[in-house]
């Protein structure tokens, strides 16, 4: 994302390595440490009653966590009651562990990039940014809030905006407000969760609904925004198109980073996406029940159209187990599209949007020079973990343990830190120009309408007619 208009200066000294490479190094360190930890702690040759049984253990799992779901008291986010009546301190211990690990890793990285003094300044600010991220997670972890898809990204933005628009972001916090760096590191970690081996989970019909319709909607919405609505900001147009057509917040983050969108543009796109997701999550199942649509077709339709993964599952479950399974799996296949879309958007941006002043297309060397390196880190993580998952004995257990035990939670912390940072850097007045004329809203509504129509047609064709028997209940 572009921080060119940011008013905070964070690294006055010349950097030894770019943000992109530093993000790749940090994410790779966490991924390698997790893989090695799981590999050394697990028994991949064990047997149980003559049958081969693989037990994958992640030694970091007990030390990396976030505030837990709570209903009645926010303190339950950190200390939960066990079934035996005792107290479980693991959310608090895990949160503190996450802080210690991230503080150590990021301070070392910032110190390497900007010199010894910058490391100390970063650490001081990071304590505050992490506390705000912890507060955001606690607000997002309330049961009612969670049940309506109000993700931590929203609360992290709100907490940051609250500080910056009331007392202003204190100068000592600013060295730790590293939005781009947090987002890029989080995205490379996310790459490890993009497992290509799960692409064929629903066979050809799943591919058609998730991988054929989605790019058509993304490109059509972008072209509509440029040619019909004449949107001034191409990057805002792209981020809204991606988050509406692919899978909400995670796609918006990847697209924004790939096309170097401004932080206000990402905030706006996410705000719209979350608002419409809440509406669609409630309204679509009601409409489907009213017209008596087949459960499988309905699941595929919702999986392809509702932005957020969790909301898709919640909406699918209200229709039945079959709808839940198809909806969640279609959305999972669509999730995997994040890598391809980020790569496509980054390539389009450096070759077509960022032309030189004479309007000539850049050569290969220029494209390579401009191409955001973190996208390559993201793709590399995806390929390596996909290969580990599908080719190595015990690969699925190893990869699942790495992701669920540590990297998924750390990726969440990076994104949460990024959204707190965006809020800390943004003034409400900076958001106003993007809302003028209502073009972003019109773009979202038109794009989502096209998405609803095309996905319904494809879901009906694939799951209702052509592959009706293939997709057995």
């Amino acid at each position: 994302m572009s921080d060119a208009d940011s008013d905070g200066s964070t690294t006055p000294e010349p950097s030894r390595v770019s943000d992109d490479w530093l993000a790749i190094i940090c994410a790779a360190t966490l991924l390698i440490a997790s893989v090695v930890g799981v590999w050394l702690s697990s028994d991949f040759n064990g047997s149980n009653n003559g049958e081969s049984k693989i037990v994958a253990v992640n030694p970091l799992a007990d030390w990396i966590d976030k505030p837990a779901k709570w209903t009645h008291s926010p303190f339950d986010a950190f200390v939960t009651e066990t079934e035996a009546g005792g107290l479980d301190w693991s959310p608090l211990v895990g949160t503190m562990g996450s802080f210690a690990l991230l503080a150590l890793l990021l301070t070392t990285a910032v110190r390497y990039q900007g010199g010894q003094a910058s490391g100390g300044r970063f650490l001081l600010g990071f304590i505050a940014v992490f506390l705000l991220a912890m507060l955001s997670y606690t607000l997002a972890a309330q049961s009612v809030v969670k049940s309506y898809n109000l993700e931590y990204a929203l609360w992290a933005l709100m907490v940051g905006l609250l500080i910056s628009n009331t007392i202003g972001t204190p100068g000592w916090i600013r060295p730790a407000v590293l939005t781009e760096f947090f987002i890029k590191t989080g995205l490379v970690l996310l790459g490890a969760e993009v497992l290509m081996s799960r692409l064929m989970a629903l066979g050809i019909p799943g591919i058609f609904v998730a991988w054929v319709v989605t790019p058509i909607v993304l490109i059509s919405t972008y072209v509509f925004g440029q040619k019909v609505l004449k949107m001034e900001s191409r990057s805002l147009n792209m981020v809204i198109s991606a988050d509406m057509s692919v899978c909400g917040v995670s796609a918006a983050i990847a697209a924004a980073a790939a096309c170097k969108a401004k932080k206000e543009e990402l905030s706006l796109a996410i705000g719209m996406s979350l608002s419409f997701t809440v509406i669609m999550m409630v309204v679509l199942p009601i409409v489907i029940k009213a017209i008596g649509m087949d459960e499988t077709v309905a699941g595929a339709w919702m999986g392809g159209t509702i932005d957020s993964t969790g909301a898709v599952a919640a909406a699918g479950a209200t229709l039945g187990d079959r709808a839940l399974e198809v909806a969640a799996t279609v959305k999972m296949i669509q999730n995997i599209l994040i890598g391809v879309s980020a790569f496509g958007i980054a390539t389009y941006w450096v070759t077509r949007v960022e032309k030189d002043p004479h309007g000539d297309r850049p050569g290969i060397s220029e494209v390579w020079k401009r191409f955001p390196r973190f996208v390559l880190g993201f793709i590399a993580a995806s390929i390596i973990f996909s290969l580990l998952h599908s080719l190595v004995d015990g690969g699925p257990e190893l990869v699942d343990s790495v992701i669920k035990g540590s990297t998924k939670t750390l990726r969440g912390w990076f994104f949460c830190l990024a959204f707190v940072s965006i809020g800390l850097e943004t003034k409400f007045s900076e958001l106003a120009p993007y809302l003028r004329g209502g073009k972003p809203l019109v773009l979202y509504l038109c794009g989502q309408s096209l998405n609803l129509i095309l996905t319904l047609v494809m879901a009906y064709l694939m799951f209702g007619i052509l592959f009706k028997d293939f997709v057995a209940p």
């Binding site: 607000l139 309330q142 049940s147 309506y148 609250l162 479950a317 969640a328 959305k331 998924k408």
Partner: protein
């Protein structure tokens, strides 16, 4: 300058108080309403977190993937 600072602090205090009131009392009260409580239990039983950003954050996916990948 001084007035602006006080005003900002007051606004932050007011917003914090509102957050404390909503999250400390409002949402827990809503959570115990029968309709909401039923919905929360329904989602819990199925391992569904509607705020999940990615499929790896969804517990319900484990069972689904197990069924799909090991028929």
């Amino acid at each position: 300058m001084r007035i602006s600072f006080i005003s900002g602090t007051t606004r932050l205090f007011a917003a914090s108080a509102a957050i404390l009131l909503i999250w400390g009392w409002g949402l827990p009260w809503i959570a115990q309403l029968p309709t909401i409580d039923k919905r929360l239990q329904f989602l819990d039983e199925r391992g569904i977190d509607p705020s999940a950003m990615y499929y790896t954050e969804l517990d319900a996916m484990d069972k689904i993937l197990q069924r799909i990948e090991q028929p």
